[in-house]
Structures are given as C-alpha cells and as structure tokens.
C-alpha cells in the first residue's frame, strides 16, 4: 500500500527577534504515523508545534496539511497541551463534547461520540464531575478524550504527560497507543523523554539543539505491547540518546 503524506514541512524557519529557533526544518509526516519528536530541552519543540497550527507566525517556509496551508478553522486538527486545558466550568462529559460544539454533527452523533470516548478513557463514572474534582491523570484523560472525540485528521500532543508521575504516564501511554491503533489518527507527539518516544512512536524524529534542525528520523518497528526492559528496546533507546547528544 502506498504511503500518503499527511503533513509536509518545507524549509520552516522561525525567529524571535534575532534569536533563530527553527532553522530550515523540512520533513514529511505520513498518514497514520505516530511520530514522536524528541530533542534537548529548550530546543524549540513547542515552538515547532505552535508554528504548525499558526499559534506563532512562521518567519519563512511552508507547512501543508493534505497539500493545503494549515487552517485550524477548516481542517480538523486537535492539540493536547502540556498543562491542563480542560474548561473548569464544564463537567467531564461537557468537556469531552466541547470540540463537537463547532462540528456539523447531529445531536445523536455527538452523544454517541461522547459516550464512546468516555468509555475508552474510563471516565463514564465521573461524567458529572468538574475538573477541580479530578486528579492530574484524569484531567489529561479528559483532554485526550476531547481531542479524539473530534476524530481529528491530525493530533498534536505537546509533552502531555510531562507533569505526571511514572505510573500514570505508563497508563496513559498505553491508552494513547490503544486509541491510535483504533482510530488510525496521525499523531505528532512532542516529548523530551527518550523512553516515552521509543515506547510510543512508530517513528522517532530527532531534533538538534538550537537553532533547531532535524538530525534524523528513525523507524521504530519494535512489536507492541513494548517492553522497556527488552534488549532491543534498550538498544534503540541508547541509539536515540546518542543521536540527541549535542555536547
């Protein structure tokens, strides 16, 4: 089966004043990929993601989604942020359905999607709870369900588990893999955690230190579910670590 390019990034450059953050970055994301982007802390990973969805204006270059300029109003893109981005005044189910408010779907279809994703992330019991009544991992699950409920063409995740403890992180990583396998959504997952990148991605893109360029992209064909103690896993993790070193 031929691979279809979902996202094309061509010569992307981003400057903040005189500070060059992204330097002539070019790469493709294939439809259905779970592409993990790793790089040193502060190398501009978030800048890259924010440039992709027009939160920041790019200095030069081109970003295309399905061959067209990225437009979050007309294209179905979801973004899961580093921090908690749930709406505190909405209940869990209202939060999950929030993105559907703006989609041309029937009420029955919206309800069905909310039920489906509440079920998948295990929050049916907490549907009437408000975010202030939830734990950090539950909040991230709400964000994940909300993003997947829109059934996006492209899902961007910016270190979504960075602030969670290791047990919760493992749990949510498994949930993400399950959802990705079910929906075949194209996912761009930003992280500075090499183990997380090797555990999740079917591809791993390694960025250099600032000014950021793409060092290389590795194909990760380790079987799932992945075992972090498996020698092949450790070997790939070490390979990524060596590639990421800038000192």
């Amino acid at each position: 089966m031929s691979e279809r390019v979902k996202v094309q990034v061509r010569n992307l450059t981003k400057k903040f004043g005189d500070l060059l953050v992204l330097n002539d970055v070019s790469f493709d994301v294939i439809e259905g990929d779970l592409l993990c982007v790793v790089g040193p802390t502060g190398c501009g990973k978030t800048t890259f993601l924010n440039s992709l969805v027009n939160i920041y204006d790019i200095t030069s270059g081109e970003i295309l989604l399905d061959g067209q300029k990225v437009n979050t109003k007309t294209q179905n893109i979801a973004y899961i942020f580093q921090g908690n981005s749930t709406m505190p005044w909405l209940t869990v189910e209202e939060n999950v359905g929030f993105g559907l408010l703006y989609k041309p779907l029937s009420a029955a279809e919206k309800k069905e999607r909310i039920e489906k994703y509440l079920e998948i992330v295990g929050l049916v019991k907490y549907r009437k709870y408000y975010p202030k009544q939830l734990s950090a991992s539950m909040l991230q699950r709400v964000s994940i369900a909300r993003a997947f409920a829109t059934e996006p063409e492209l899902l961007l995740m910016d270190e979504p588990y960075g602030q969670l403890d290791i047990e919760l992180r493992f749990k949510l990583e498994d949930e993400l893999v399950k959802l990705w396998q079910m929906t075949k959504t194209t996912v761009l997952f930003i992280t500075h955690n090499i183990e997380e990148a090797v555990y999740l991605g079917n591809k791993i893109m390694i960025l250099s230190n600032k000014p950021t360029t793409v060092k290389t992209t590795l194909i990760n064909e380790l079987p799932r579910p992945r075992d972090i103690a498996d020698p092949q896993f450790i070997a790939l993790r070490n390979q990524v670590t060596d590639l990421i070193k800038w000192w």
């Binding site: 969805v53 939160i55 979050t72 109003k73 179905n76 893109i77 979801a78 973004y79 942020f81 921090g83 908690n84 981005s85 749930t86 709406m87 505190p88 005044w89 909405l90 209940t91 929030f98 993105g99 408010l101 703006y102 989609k103 709870y129 408000y130 975010p131 202030k132 009544q133 964000s143 909300r146 829109t150 961007l156």
Partner: protein, 261 residues
C-alpha cells in the same frame, strides 16, 4: 458530625456571641455611662424599630421606606452591573476596546458617587433618575473592573485549546471568556451590591420623600436618634441579606469552582 456542619455551627455560635456581646456593651454603656446622653439603649431602639415597621415614619412605615430604597438600589445596581459587566468583558478581551475605554474608566472609577450629586441634580433633576444614577455609578465601577480582570486572566492554554478545536473568535468570547470570568464577575457584583446599598443613603439625600436615607436624614433634622438608629439597623440587615443572596447565587453559578469530590 462532618467538617462543614461543624464549621457552620461554630460560625453561628460565634456570631451570636459577638452580636450579643455588642448589644450587652451598648446596653451597659447607655445605663452606666454618659453614652445615654448621646443615644438610646438597644431595647428602646429595637422596640421602636418594630413600631416603625408596623406604624409610620413620616408618610409610611419603615418597611415601605426600605422597599423604596431597595427598588432604587435594584434598578441602579442592575443597570450599573449590566453596563459594567459588558464593558469590562469587552475591555478584558479586546485590546482596542481597552485602549479606548480604559483611560476614561480609570478616571471615573476613583470618584466617589457622592461627588456626583450636584452634577446628577443638574442632569436629571430632583426625581428618581438622579438617585438611580448615583447607585448606577457605584455598581458600575466595581463590576467593570472585576469583569475586565476576569476576562483578561482566562488561561491562554484554554483559549488555544478551544481555537484548536475549531472555535471562532465570537465563540471563544461566548463559550470561553464569559464563563471563565464568572467567578471574578461575582466578586465584582458582591462589592457592587454593597456599594450600591451604601450609596442609597447619599442618593436619598437629594430631596427624597421616602427611603431609608430619608428616614435617617429626617431623624437628624428632628434630633430623633432612635429613628436614625432604626434606619441604620434596617440598612445593615438588608445589606447583609443582599450579600447573602448574592453569595448563594454565586455558589450555584460557580459550583464548578469548588475543589474536592
């Protein structure tokens, strides 16, 4: 006994003790010191208060005076908070609105409502409009400031998330900025209703025929300290009730803002 019930009981007992101690001190002062030359004792004041409520002070009962004041406060407060919240939200969300209106608002805000009395008489005459205008100003200043602060402090991550989910600017304003600003708006309404109620006395000094402000003014003119104190107590009780109602409304509207399961 759960923590909340225990806390409520302790608060209620403390309130009864402190009010009781205050009344006892007042009674003691008026019976054993020269305070009796300045004011009547609490028993006289409270029995007169009941008499004023069932009888008349001037042309009507104290209850009718209170209702007249309450009507003015509610009209002024509703108009002031409606304009204040709308303007505050716009200034909080849109830089251009802030650039245009904020300098005028910052100039008007520190001016106490009482300073507007001469101008309000010139603009609106001696009737109801001038009184409502003063109360409007008291409510407007507080609600504008809080609505603006609320709209400005919406978490940018939530705004970005909604934008990513496809919300347009108008939808961000209605579905994100307004609900996120509600707790701050309520804080403004709380202060606004207290200021509006406090301003009614000043407003009713503008040639009023009734109202609690008039009751106090008339008591002062007739050197009737009992009537003055009865009016003050009525203002305090109604002010307390208004603040309580507002707090309960906030609890219902902002129940999402409480932590814990």
């Amino acid at each position: 006994m759960n923590e909340k019930v225990k806390e409520t009981m302790i608060s209620a007992i403390c309130a009864v003790i402190s009010i009781g101690a205050f009344l006892l001190l007042w009674w003691w002062g008026t019976h054993f010191t020269t305070l009796s030359k300045l004011m009547p004792d609490p028993v006289t004041v409270f029995s007169s208060l009941i008499e004023y409520c069932v009888g008349t002070v001037g042309k009507c009962s104290l209850i009718v005076h209170m209702l007249n004041s309450l009507r003015r406060v509610l009209i002024g407060f509703l108009l002031g908070s409606l304009v204040g919240i709308s303007l505050g939200l716009l200034m909080g969300r849109y830089m251009l609105a802030r650039a245009i209106f904020n300098p005028i608002f910052r100039f008007i805000r520190p001016i106490p409502p009482i300073a507007w009395i001469p101008i309000s008489i010139v603009w609106f005459g001696l009737g109801e409009q001038a009184k409502i205008f003063l109360i409007f100003l008291a409510a407007f200043a507080n609600t504008t400031l809080n609505a603006m602060t609320g709209a400005m402090s919406v978490d940018p991550e939530i705004i970005n998330a909604s934008r990513m989910l496809g919300a347009k600017e108008r939808q961000i304003f209605t579905t994100i900025v307004i609900p996120a600003a509600v707790p701050s708006i309520f804080a403004g309404l709380q202060v606004g209703i207290s200021s509006a109620w406090a301003s009614v006395v000043a407003a009713e000094m503008i040639k009023a025929q009734n109202g609690l402000g008039w009751t106090i003014q008339a008591g002062m003119d007739n050197n009737n300290m009992t009537q003055i104190l009865a009016g003050i107590i009525m203002i305090g009780v109604v002010g307390f009730l208004l603040a309580y109602i507002m707090r309960k409304a906030e609890e219902v509207m902002c129940r999402w803002n409480k932590s814990g399961r």
